[in-house]
Each structure stands twice: as structure tokens, then as C-alpha cells.
């Protein structure tokens, strides 16, 4: 649910990064944070455990500039990926405007990716959303590792509708901004159509 403020001429939209544990959601946000000009970003908040696993969420506010005199802000959130944090994941999906699914390309994480994708669909439906109607992009992360599943196979399993998808290596930043731009663009096109 985007927030359009005619009084302060601002639009705020919420983007959620979803995916299995250790797939690189937080790393995506950290890269965006590092590479964004100080005036365009707010503080990045990470509610994480002592071992830096996301406990509740990471949060990064970004101000992208103006569209037709309206300041455009995106609030980026990640969910905790570990299976047993499902209750927290549901809460973070509330009011989402666009979703990025970050897949872990390593062969041994294939099942975890599929499980997380099913979990995303279930949790969205519980909030009254359909994934098909939401701005949605997929990122195949960790392409730099040796034991990766071919992209075609990942695409067949995770992206049958062929939404925009990107190969990435979030630690070096490859594909990170491409993914963010794609989902932001889909959200704005959605707003243009006059809401869902």
C-alpha cells in the first residue's frame, strides 16, 4: 500500500526482499546502502542476532528524486529467511508494494528456494494479495560460486511467469541495482495504472 501525501508532495512505497536463509537479502541492502549518495539514503537498520542472522527485518529508506513534483521514496525491507521465523515474515509483508525474490543459486539450496517461494505465495494470500498481481522480480544470487544450478533450470522452477529476472553476486554488487530498478519501475507503472 503506497502512501501518497499531497500535503508534503511525497510518495512512499514499500519493497520487500524475500528468500531462503542466507540467500543474500541483507547483502543486497548493504550494497545499495554503500553505493547510494548520503543525501539519498537514511540510516540502515538491522534487527539481527549476535551472529548477524536477520531476526526481524532490515530497513533502508531511499529517496530517488522527483516525479512530477512528488518526492519518490522507497522503503526497502528484508525478511528473516530462516524457516522458523515465519510469524515475523508475515508481519513484514503487510502493506507491501513490490517483492524481490532472492534465490540462492547453489545446487544444495534448490529445495530451500522452492520452499521459500511457496511460503511467499502462502503468506501473501493470507494478507489478501496475489503474487501474480504484485510488482515482482526474481534475482538469482551467488552466480560467482562454483556449484550453481543453471539459470534456465532456476527460471523453470522459480519464475514460470517470466517476470523480470537477474543474475547477481550481491557481495560484489553485480545485478543488485538492476534488480532494485526493475522492481521500482514496476511499482511506479502500477501506480500509473491507478492502483491495484
Amino acid at each position: 500500500m503506497s502512501f501518497i501525501n499531497y500535503a508534503s508532495r511525497e510518495i512512499n512505497c514499500k519493497i520487500v526482499y524475500y528468500g531462503p536463509g542466507l540467500c543474500g537479502k541483507t547483502t543486497n541492502l548493504q550494497f545499495v546502502y554503500q553505493k547510494t549518495a548520503p543525501e539519498a539514503k537514511g540510516k540502515m537498520i538491522s534487527l539481527a542476532t549476535e551472529t548477524e542472522r536477520t531476526l526481524f527485518f532490515d530497513f533502508l529508506p531511499l529517496a530517488l528524486g522527483e516525479i512530477r513534483g512528488f518526492k519518490t521514496r522507497f522503503h526497502l525491507y528484508t525478511v528473516p529467511g530462516q524457516v522458523f521465523y515465519d510469524a515475523s515474515r508475515k508481519l513484514i509483508l503487510k502493506g507491501v508494494d513490490g517483492v524481490v525474490f532472492v534465490a540462492d543459486s547453489q545446487e544444495e539450496r534448490l529445495d530451500a528456494n522452492i520452499e521459500s517461494m511457496e511460503n511467499l505465495k502462502d503468506n501473501l494470500e493470507e494478507q489478501g494479495y496475489q503474487l501474480e498481481n504484485l510488482p515482482f522480480v526474481v534475482q538469482y544470487n551467488k552466480r560467482d560460486l562454483p556449484n550453481t544450478t543453471p539459470v534456465e533450470e532456476l527460471r523453470d522452477l522459480l519464475n514460470p511467469r517470466e517476470v523480470p529476472d537477474f543474475e547477481a553476486c550481491a557481495t560484489t554488487g553485480q545485478g543488485v541495482f538492476e534488480t532494485l530498478k526493475a522492481v521500482a519501475k514496476l511499482i511506479l507503472i502500477d501506480l500509473k495504472k491507478g492502483g491495484r
Partner: protein, 164 residues
């Protein structure tokens, strides 16, 4: 009522009314600052001593706090916990839900008290609830008409320009 998928729209007139209402609450409750946040973590309005605060983070964490507490409430069979209170050494937070849809955050110190804040928040919430009701009605009325939307005419170039 605001549906889960319709954008939340704020207009000048209601924004002024909301600010006036929370300014009044700020004076009457003797508090330091007051914020209104939507349940998704977006800041709607803020008054009082707001300069040294990271208000964006404040809004997001407040909403996270309410969401987590709401989850806890449902687990034990409650609809929600309508008031949260966090006590600090100097400053305290009083968080409550207004009209079931927005979060009212009051920051106060020893110049006020929990009792006074609770009392004033209760009264102020009723006033705010009326304004949000009007806002929801206005949003519904304007939803069908269309020309109000600043996005109806955005072009691909506008969108691309954001990412230069």
C-alpha cells in the same frame, strides 16, 4: 475503510487538521514530541522536538513494534494490545492505535506523566479518528474520478530519470 491494497492518500486539508490535533495533544499532554505513523511504517506527521531524531527509522521501528505485539496478541487470543508503554531513564514512549489504522507515538519526559499522557491520548484519539474517517471517505470518492492522480501521466522517461 482503507482496503489492504489501495494506496493511502493524504490531502492538504486533512493534513492541516491532523497537525492541529496533534499540536493540541502535545500542549495538553506536556509531551516532547508526537508522531503519527501508518501501520506499514510510513511517517504521516510529527510535531514537537523532532529535529534531533531520525524520524524515518523511528516510524519504521514503531510499526515493527506494533506489528510484533499484534502478532503476540493474536497468539493468546486478543485482537490487539491497544497501548504500549516503554519506560526509559529520561524519556518514555507511549504507543497507541488510533481508529484501528494508524499509530500514535508520544515521547515524554518527567515534565509529564503516564497518567496525563494516557488521559490526553484517549481524548485526542477520538478527534483523530474522525479526521481519518473523513480521509477514508474522501479517498473512496476520489478513487473513481482519476484526474487527481499525479501518476496518470508519468512516462517511461520520468521513471528512467529517477535512476540516472
Amino acid at each position: 475503510m482503507l482496503g489492504p491494497q489501495s494506496p493511502f492518500v493524504m490531502y492538504d486539508e486533512e493534513y492541516k487538521r491532523i497537525n492541529a490535533a496533534i499540536e493540541k495533544l502535545l500542549r495538553e499532554s506536556n509531551s516532547k514530541s508526537i508522531f503519527l505513523v501508518d501501520k506499514n511504517g510510513q511517517l504521516i506527521a510529527g510535531v514537537g522536538e523532532t529535529d534531533n531524531l531520525d524520524t524515518t527509522s523511528l516510524a519504521s521501528l514503531t510499526a515493527g513494534n506494533i506489528a510484533a505485539t499484534g502478532g503476540l496478541a493474536q497468539l493468546i487470543g486478543e485482537k490487539e494490545f491497544s497501548i504500549l508503554f516503554h519506560e526509559g531513564e529520561k524519556d518514555n514512549l507511549h504507543i497507541s492505535i488510533v481508529a484501528g489504522r494508524v499509530i500514535l507515538l508520544v515521547i515524554f519526559d518527567q515534565r509529564s506523566s503516564l497518567g496525563l499522557v494516557r488521559l490526553r491520548v484517549k481524548k485526542g484519539s477520538e478527534e483523530l479518528a474522525v479526521i481519518f474517517e473523513d480521509l477514508a471517505k474522501k479517498g473512496e470518492q476520489q478513487a473513481g474520478t482519476g484526474p487527481e492522480s499525479p501518476f496518470a501521466e508519468i512516462t517511461d522517461d520520468d521513471i528512467d530519470n529517477l535512476f540516472r
